[in-house]
């Protein structure tokens, strides 16, 4: 057993069996939700009439679109809007750090809504770079178990996104719902979450996650 590091007074431990554990609160990440499975997307233009998981401010503004996929691939470009053949026409495309392949195992273009993990329907967790760099096996795409000690509810999850270096404890909207964490009225990802350290996280680096029958790829970072 060894300590990988400490964030906000919370120790991140690599256990003897190779798993990584920590206890923290849980903020919510709506990134990656593009309506892949019929649930609301994370972001859409202001003119969009429909629910979104997060407020547009977290996606950016003209000239600086840091939270959605753009036509130039960088923040200065124009956000790509989903077309009629896409899963949620009119919505923007938001990304996760973990990229999914197509059915043949080939990589998808950045403009594909299916390249990213859907926060609305897939329980996933977000980890700081310290964990990615702190263990030898691959962390992105690996199995995780998230438990709410207050409700006793637990769920299988996948490590699908990277958070700020000084923030520990972040999960998808689907993960929050699975373990009984409150979400917001209008924008679930924006006003939901718990700050008290009642959520237990256990990651299994190097072991691909299997969530809802889907096996996720391990991805170097």
């Amino acid at each position: 057993m060894g300590k990988i590091g400490t964030i906000n007074d919370r120790d991140i431990i690599e256990q003897d069996d190779g798993s990584v554990t920590f206890t923290a609160g849980a903020t919510l990440d709506g990134d990656g939700a593009n309506g892949q499975f019929g649930q609301p997307p994370c972001y859409a233009p202001a003119s969009f009439h429909g629910p979104t998981l997060d407020v547009l401010g977290n996606a950016g503004h003209p000239g600086n679109w840091y939270g959605v996929v753009t036509d130039t691939g960088n923040e200065k470009g124009t956000p790509i809007v989903q077309k009629a053949a896409d899963p949620y026409p009119g919505a923007y495309i938001s990304a996760t750090s973990l990229h999914l392949p197509d059915n043949d195992g080939e990589s998808l273009p950045s403009s594909s809504p299916f390249k990213y993990v859907d926060s609305a329907t897939v329980p996933f967790i977000v980890v700081p770079p310290m964990i990615l760099k702190g263990v030898k096996p691959i962390v992105l795409g690996c199995r995780a178990i998230v438990t709410n000690s207050k409700t006793g509810k637990s769920t299988e999850a996948v490590v699908a996104d990277v958070g700020p270096h000084n923030h520990l404890g972040e999960i998808s909207v689907a993960c929050a719902k699975a373990i009984g964490i409150p979400t917001g009225t209008t924008y679930p990802a924006n006003s939901g979450g718990v700050s008290s350290p009642t959520i237990q996280y256990q990651l299994f680096p190097g072991i691909p996650a299997v969530v809802n029958g889907v096996t996720y790829p391990l991805q170097h970072s």
Partner: protein, 195 residues
């Protein structure tokens, strides 16, 4: 004879005391009942969230170059009950360290609408309402479920934004937006804030 007189006088005095106590007691109960509000809005809490992302410097071409969103938070004082004309209103008022605003949030008594009235006022340093405020609406909050929290986006000037990024966030982090979250669920109300 003397003993009998003393006994009668004592009984009379005791009876008068009992009657007075009963009458006064009843009156005080009536008075108390008249001041007791028939409905007191449930407790709620408010916090300001400073949402940010972080540039991921190690990201390679084709990889996501900014982090998932996160936030720093500052809480407003606990709610308290104000009784006026026998009606109870629950309010939260105060300031936070990183915004030049004065907040006042009220949940009023139930009237014709079963849910009561929700009012939110945000004033700037000169006492003028901040753009988008005040707002008045039927109380949107419940103690459980998906409607236990509601957000109100707060505009910030470039100077305030710069100050927040300089004093609250770290090097590669940038502010995306600021909002006030009002919540009524137990998780939200019991949250602790860094001193």
């Amino acid at each position: 004879m003397l003993n009998s007189y003393v006994l009668r006088k004592s009984l009379l005095t005791f009876s008068v005391v009992l009657c007075c106590d009963f009458l006064l007691g009843s009156r005080s109960h009536v008075a108390f009942a008249a001041e007791e509000p028939s409905y007191t809005p449930p407790p709620f809490a408010c916090e300001v969230r400073y949402h940010f992302r972080e540039h991921l410097r190690d990201a390679e071409p084709g990889e996501k170059s900014v982090s998932a969103p996160a936030f720093e938070r500052e809480g407003l004082p606990a709610s308290r009950v104000v009784i006026s004309d026998g009606l109870a209103t629950r309010i939260v008022e105060g300031r936070v360290a990183h915004l030049p605003y004065q907040f006042l949030v009220k949940i009023g008594p139930k009237s014709n609408s079963e849910v009561g009235t929700f009012e939110i006022s945000v004033l700037d340093g000169s006492g003028k309402p901040v753009t988008g405020f005040p707002q008045v609406m039927p109380n949107p909050l419940t103690k459980t479920g998906d409607s236990s929290r509601k957000e109100f986006e707060l505009p910030v000037t470039e100077a305030v934004r710069t100050n927040i990024e300089k004093t609250l966030l770290k090097g590669d982090q940038f502010l995306t937006h600021v909002d006030l979250i009002v919540g009524m669920d137990e998780d939200f109300i019991s949250q602790q804030f860094a001193k």
